[in-house]
């Protein structure tokens, strides 16, 4: 079940060289073939997840710890299902609401998890770089499930997988990324989802436009090979995919944005606005959505336009692929020792 399908032979180096990293901390710096390898690996799990019997025993006997230092429902659930469908013992640690947040405790927690001999640790933390800090202290593969405003690599991968699936279902063959135009709109400054998507999509040859008011646009963003826009209508012109980001409501009210309704006025994705994009343009959102603010319900709920539930589906498959690939060395998979 793990062997790459024969049609992919030659797309990337054999065995471990296809993805020669112990951890998945971010998508920055990954080569195009490494990203495509992970996407290809996820395809089998998309298939499996659509069966009635959704279970592979690949990771049987392994322990995966989901250590979430920041609240999460969707990502945690997605990782939990992914691990369980691969047959691993999955344990969730919710450290978000307790006092286990700062200080030595973070390193101590890492050492504790390590001493429990986890075979992979999935970490979400509210501070950029925190997951890397933990990864440096443990002996097993670490997956970043979101660190501060830095990266959320499995989200970037699942979004790429979602785009690829959508375009292939329209009958396009090969990789759709090269030459595609994707708009990412919203709070770019604070978004790790935006950063991981920018890294993945630009590496795969996509034209990425980012759109936000100046207060939510990070400095030097054009150095990441994207085109910044403040005018959403201009950004949408000719776009093939529109990714909306969640607006943190607590950031509204004066500091970054005057009000939710003013934000919607300039950056809300309505059907009328979407008409400015390329015909057949697709809409994505990492969830959870603020309906009626950054996205209207008639956009989000139209299956002909919206890939939002598809993203969730691809999320499980993508995380299964990442857990599989990163535990291959420990499992003694041929070519991965």
């Amino acid at each position: 079940m793990t062997a790459p399908t024969p049609s992919h032979a030659g797309r990337y180096p054999a065995g471990r060289n296809a993805f020669p990293h112990r951890d998945l901390l971010g998508l920055a710096g990954l080569a195009p073939h490494e990203l495509l390898f992970l996407l290809d690996e996820a395809e089998q799990w998309v298939e499996l997840n659509r069966q009635r019997h959704k279970r592979a025993d690949l990771l049987s006997g392994l322990t995966i710890i989901n250590a979430f230092f920041e609240n999460s429902t969707r990502t945690l659930l997605s990782f939990e299902i992914a691990g369980k469908r691969l047959g691993a013992d999955v344990v969730n640690m919710h450290a978000a609401t307790s006092s286990v947040k700062k200080g030595e405790t973070l390193i101590d927690t890492a050492l504790t998890l390590n001493a429990m001999r986890a075979d992979a640790i999935v970490i979400r933390h509210g501070s950029s770089g925190a997951v890397r800090l933990i990864a440096d202290k443990v002996d097993c593969p670490v997956l970043n499930a979101g660190d501060g405003q830095h990266e959320h690599p499995t989200q970037g991968l699942l979004d790429a997988l979602t785009i690829r699936h959508a375009f292939r279902e329209r009958g396009e063959s090969g990789e759709p990324f090269n030459g595609l135009t994707v708009v990412i709109c919203g709070d770019i400054l604070h978004s790790r989802v935006a950063r991981s998507n920018i890294q993945a999509l630009t590496t795969l040859g996509t034209n990425v436009r980012v759109c936000a008011p100046p207060a939510l646009m990070p400095a030097g963003i054009e150095q990441l090979k994207v085109t910044p826009y403040h005018d959403f209508d201009a950004a949408l012109a000719g776009a093939d995919v529109v990714m909306m980001l969640r607006l943190q409501l607590e950031r509204m009210h004066g500091q970054f944005v005057p009000s939710p309704r003013e934000y919607r006025h300039l950056y809300g994705l309505t059907l009328e606005r979407l008409a400015k994009a390329a015909p057949g343009a697709l809409v994505m959102h990492p969830g959870p959505m603020n309906r009626g603010i950054e996205i209207d319900s008639n956009v989000a709920d139209d299956p002909a336009i919206s890939l939002i539930t598809r993203q969730v589906e691809m999320g499980v498959a993508m995380r299964m692929a990442c857990l599989d690939v990163l535990t291959r060395a420990a499992r003694g998979t041929e070519g991965w020792q």
Binding site: A28, K102, G103, E104, L106, I107, H125, S127, S128, G129, A130, R132, L133, D147, G148, Q149, H150, E151, R192, R195, P218, A219, G220, I221, Q223, L224
Partner: protein, 410 residues
């Protein structure tokens, strides 16, 4: 307790002016009594053979956050101006008096009085009482003073008392909770960042207020091209402003942040490569007057954290000298100017009779092997913590002997 007369012979003397000259320096009663090419030991003097090494004034470190004698002595520092950011802050005469005694005899600590009570930036502290308890200057601490009215009255008061005000120049409103300079690197890493202009904005205001009041303002760290331009222009107008910097800002730029290493979490944060080059140019043209360590040893409880959660600061006392000597090797400055930056000017700002090898000055003297190579190692520092941004970096220049008030301490 007065040390016996001592003469350091066979020295290459770094004097206030000119190239280093061969000669000797004689100390008696804790003071320098003779220095120069023709000086010879008198009958009964102890003699110390410098073996052609540099003999320089002991370093006067303007703005340290901890009294860390082993690190200061390793780095050739005989006097350190202690920032008021202590626990509790130096905002009370008794604490100032205690701090002023805390390093003797091997190290003289010159306390900097807190400009405002509890360093909160609101009420002006008892500066005159602290001056008379031993404070050598006044400092705003790690933060700037947000209220311009408070800053104006503070500068007027310092001017009246004849004390320099040492300020931290970052506009607090722009900085907020930032831990990096807004830039491509901060964006890539997802670190909270503030525009580099936060420094120029603060410098512009503080220079304007210094100009209005005639006060002597020392901006402890000026790290951006725009702020340095403001200082340069103010000096040209005759404003009594001086500027300092620490080696991190002429050695490193924010490119170094890529690994999220918290030893590089500094205040102000590391700047762009262009700003780094502007700092070097400002050292060369005299816009920058002092180089200080900002010595702030921080253990794992403050540093082994995610970048944004870590405390700012670096252990800098041991690397202050070699990093400054690298500017001499790169021909940015000459040796005389290096010790003006490291000793003479800081001593002048503090109003202490030290910092130069001149007759009548305190006999604070360092013997330096300027060429000796060594490797900075955060695991083997003399400092109470090894949070150096220069870990594993090969450097040159090491203190081989140190005299405080005519007594050998290293």
């Amino acid at each position: 307790m007065t040390p016996a007369p001592l003469t350091i012979v066979n020295a290459r003397l770094v004097l206030p002016r000119g190239e280093p000259v061969s000669g000797a320096i004689r100390m008696d009663g804790g003071q320098i009594v003779a220095v120069g090419p023709g000086v010879v030991p008198l009958q009964g003097d102890f003699t110390f053979d410098a073996k052609r090494q540099l003999v320089t004034p002991g370093l006067v470190d303007l703005g340290v956050f901890a009294i860390d004698k082993p690190a200061f002595h390793f780095g050739g520092i005989t006097r350190a101006a202690l920032m008021p950011d202590q626990g509790p802050p130096l905002d009370h005469p008794a604490r100032v008096r205690f701090a002023a005694q805390s390093g003797k005899p091997g190290l003289w600590v010159h306390p900097l009085a807190a400009a405002t009570r509890a360093l909160e930036g609101n009420e002006i502290a008892e500066i005159a009482l602290m001056r008379d308890a031993g404070a050598k200057a006044v400092a705003t601490g790690r933060e700037w003073i947000a209220d311009s009215g408070t800053m104006l009255r503070l500068l007027q008061y310092c001017a009246m008392l004849g004390l320099v005000l040492v300020s931290h120049a970052e506009d607090g409103g722009l900085v907020g909770s930032a831990v990096a300079t807004a830039s491509e690197m901060a964006t890539r890493l997802g670190l909270p960042s503030a525009p580099a202009g936060a420094e120029a904005l603060a410098v512009a205001r503080d220079v304007a207020l210094a100009e209005m009041t005639g006060a002597r303002l020392h901006i402890r760290q000026v790290t951006t091209a725009a702020a340095l331009d403001l200082v340069r222009a103010a000096k040209r107008r005759g404003v009594a402003v001086t500027a300092g910097v620490s080696p991190a800002h002429f050695m490193l730029s924010d490119n170094a942040l890529a690994g999220f290493r918290t030893f590089l979490r500094l205040s102000p944060p590391l700047r762009s490569e262009d700003d780094r080059r502007a700092v070097i140019a400002a050292i060369a043209d005299g816009t920058i007057d002092t180089i200080a360590s900002g010595h702030d040893p921080r253990g794992p409880e403050d540093k082994r954290l995610p970048f944004a959660d870590a405390e700012p600061g670096m252990a800098g006392a041991e690397t202050l000298l070699p990093m400054t000597l690298s500017l001499v090797r790169d021909e940015v400055i000459d040796l005389t100017r290096a010790f003006e930056l490291l000793a003479a000017t800081p001593a002048r700002l503090l109003g202490v009779e030290a910092g130069t090898l001149t007759v009548g000055a305190e006999a604070d003297v360092a013997v330096i092997d300027a060429e000796r190579p060594w490797i900075v190692d955060s695991d083997k520092m003399a400092a109470s913590a090894g949070n150096t941004p220069f870990d594993r970096q090969p450097v040159q220049g090491r203190v081989t002997a140190l005299f405080k008030g005519g007594t050998q301490i290293v």
